[in-house]
Symmetry: C2
Subunit: 150 residues, 2 copies
């Protein structure tokens, strides 16, 4: 297989990212890939926030993975900055290829570079395979993740 | 009791916030309230990021609670912006007074005002009382929270 590149997402990557978000048991109900406008508005918000890092993984210039990293300063843990990983998706053709590991390790290295002392994420309780994946990568399932729709 | 006010934290509030962060079974091991400098550096980072909202609750000008709200744009869920609550602490004298509910409801209202469609948080698996508290406030324990120290 050709080399993998991980780089900041551009507006031209948005359709490919949305297609991956929608190609997922939970995402299929939540996304509307045929109606791009709200995604483009959201992309502009992400691009305007220097603490947001939306990246894509490409192989032979085709988008095959994505992840969003948010840098969150804070007072707790002696003024620790932490990072939060959201929106991890791997193209169906690439699952099992090790790309998920590459993307998460990219996020870990980028978090270290930005002086974070902790990286965290939440995963839907139904995604049991994802939980094993994160535990293999050194994440500890130490917390309960709560959400409230507004 | 005198009226409660919820307002943005100032640098003068930092010692009172740290005292609350440290007065906690988990925080006691993680914080160093006698060594303020890293907290002041972190406060400056928070103050410089328009997507961070560190607030204090005061009663008769005394700091009795704190919470950090982070606004996170994103592509998933049709370009949804979400908010994340971190660092919720209530002064020992005020526990059971309804202040926790007031602070969380403030965060919910502020999230709505900033056009978030989802508010989320993680709580250490050992904080069983906190979990019941969040469920009473309409939060769903739908996710597993993973952390990896760097």
């Amino acid at each position: 297989m050709s080399d993998l590149e991980i780089r900041p997402a551009t507006v031209d990557d948005v359709p490919a990212i949305i297609a991956m978000l929608a190609d997922d048991p939970l995402g299929a109900q939540r996304e509307s890939p045929d109606h791009l406008e709200p995604y483009l508005t959201a992309f502009a918000r992400l691009a305007g926030d220097p603490h947001q890092h939306l990246v894509v993984a490409t192989r032979a210039e085709r988008v095959v993975g994505t992840l969003q990293l948010t840098i969150v300063p804070g007072l707790s843990r002696r003024g620790a900055t932490r990072s939060i990983i959201e929106g991890v998706r791997i193209h169906a053709d690439e699952r099992g290829s090790g790309l998920g590991t590459r993307l998460i390790e990219w996020a870990v290295e980028e978090s270290r570079r930005l002086e974070c002392v902790l990286v965290q994420l939440t995963s839907d309780a139904t995604r049991v395979d994802a939980h094993r994946f994160y535990e293999r990568l050194g994440f500890e399932a130490s917390h309960v993740g709560f959400k409230r729709a507004l």
